[in-house]
Amino acid sequence: MSAASPTIPVDTLVPVEIHPDVALVARAKEGDTAAFEQLVRQYDRQVFRVAQHITQNREDAEDITQDAFLKAYEKLDQFQGNSKFSTWLVRIAVNESLMRLRKRKTSKTVSMDENVQTDEGSIPRDFADWSPNPEQQFGTSELGDILRKTIQGLPPGFRTVFTLRDIENLSTEETAEALGLSVPAVKSRLLRARLQLRERLSRYFRQTKTEGPKP
């Protein structure tokens, strides 16, 4: 009688997927600058975009992008691979951006549109439908101006959550981790950010003609 070892169903042998970034980070840790260069190439746009969204300042965004990558390089040993490399990098960029904002808090405050006062829990006031596609109403540059202007008017805390969650596609948990916030706090800020932004955009995108009652 053979002492057969218990067989493991094939479908339980799930191969562990290793993210390509993990190998690049490992090589970079060993001094392979080309590997780190590859990571820079992959994520420079994302880091710049996050910094630009948070600071609303192009020069700051350029400086932050450089500083964030340098800091990441210097601290590669601290990256344990518990989160995605991109999330870790974005967290560094967010910290650098917020630090930059704090430094110039007296010099340039973010503009607030006067007629938007949506408080948490309040029901948005603008109920106008938009045309089927806002992008069809405006040229690329005009739409870009509108999007920049409206997001610039958000309080930095809301703008940051919206940027990470809705533009950079971080999960709620990753956003919470990057900002040192609780998950409920992220959800609350995200709701407020989305509704405020929607209301600001409504000025541009609302339909001007009535299409008749909806069922």
Binding site: V40, L70, Y73, G121, I123, A128
Partner: protein, 80 residues
């Protein structure tokens, strides 16, 4: 479900993190309340229009310049 209840569920609704019973309530409310239907639709469009449009210029020139500076600074760190 009231409009305020609907709003409080909006984030979870977008994230698909809402249980079946509540989902049915939300959908029932949207079907009946035109205002909330519009809020849902225009909020969704808000997210999409931002997600789909690169609103800050990141030219190849800027990328090259950043790239060169970053790698130059990294190599300095390595030398030390």
């Amino acid at each position: 479900m009231t409009c305020t209840d609907f709003l409080s569920q909006l984030t979870d609704y977008f994230d698909g993190q809402i249980d079946a019973e509540l989902l049915a309530e939300v959908q029932g409310h949207i079907a009946e309340c035109h205002h909330c239907h519009v809020v849902l639709d225009t909020t969704k469009q808000t997210i999409e229009v931002y997600r789909d449009n690169e609103i800050y210029d990141f030219s190849p020139e800027l990328q090259s310049r950043l790239h060169a500076t970053i790698m130059s600074r990294c190599r300095e760190v390595k030398v030390r």
